[in-house]
Amino acid sequence: MKSTKFWTILIGALLLVCVVASAGIYMMRGTGKIANIYQDGELIRSIHLETVTNPFSFSVSAANGGSNLIQVMPGKICIAEADCPDQVCVEMGWIEDGVLPIVCLPHKLVIEISDGGQAIDSAVQ
């Protein structure tokens, strides 16, 4: 049996580490503006968000029959519609920096923003 003080210090220290790490993640966000869309771990499309002048949207279908409607505006991207019941990806709203990627687990879809220069098809529709 450990004392309550031991657990308090341990949990407090862990909380502090996580707060610092979270702050670090927010501070170190890249200045990149390239949205990479991954399906099942594979890059299916890259969009250079800064070169987008007219908003557009397109839909991505998943292997299990579901689909997501992805909306792109100058400098930001979001999932506008998804035909899954949990709607977690839609609720995340617009992302415009590289902090947290949008994830749609039912359709194995991830959208992240980075400064990486993968195969870019900028504003091609």
């Binding site: 309550t4 609720e91 947290l100 687990l105 039912p106 991830v110």
Partner: protein
């Protein structure tokens, strides 16, 4: 399982399910998936400490399955179960080295492992390791939420102990 035990577990399960469904109606505070209070775990933690792991597991499983069906999220049940079961095993293990005044510690540790399980499953499903950036952020929210539900369970235990009715 005696009729008394069954009735008691069913009652606890109904309480947990009610808390779960009410919490699901509250809009998310921050747009980060996975951030939630998990109030229904007050019942889980309480059951582990008072009735033991078998009863608590039954309550947890029934609550997760029915909760997924009632909230229309049956597709995500596997992800909920993965996180929930990992968390459950860790709490059952750590329970052995905790006193009855440290119930809240089990809740915090459980929350941490729930978040680790969630992120791992999400990384496996999407094959995208980059989702690991969610971990520290989810752990901050998990520790705070686990502390809150753990203290609720701690107070509940303190109050009910005097009733000598469980």
């Amino acid at each position: 399982m005696s009729a008394k035990q069954l009735t008691r577990d069913a009652l606890l399960c109904a309480i947990a399910l009610t808390i779960f469904m009410i919490e699901a109606q509250i809009p998310a505070l921050v747009p980060i998936p996975g951030v939630k209070l998990g109030l229904a775990n007050i019942v889980t933690v309480f059951a582990i400490f008072v009735y033991g792991s078998k009863d608590a597991l039954a309550i947890l499983l029934v609550r997760v399955v029915l909760g997924s069906i009632f909230s229309g999220q049956i597709t995500t049940i596997l992800y909920s179960l993965a996180g929930g079961l990992l968390c459950f095993c860790v709490v059952v293990l750590i329970r052995k080295i905790l006193t009855e005044r440290q119930i809240w510690v089990a809740s915090v540790v459980g929350a941490i492992f729930h978040n680790i399980g969630q992120v791992l499953v999400a990384m496996l499903i999407t094959s995208t390791w980059r989702l690991v950036v969610y971990l520290p952020i989810l752990m901050v929210s998990g520790i705070l939420a686990g502390l809150f539900t753990g203290l609720c369970a701690q107070f509940l235990y303190g109050k009910l102990k005097n009733l000598r009715q469980f």
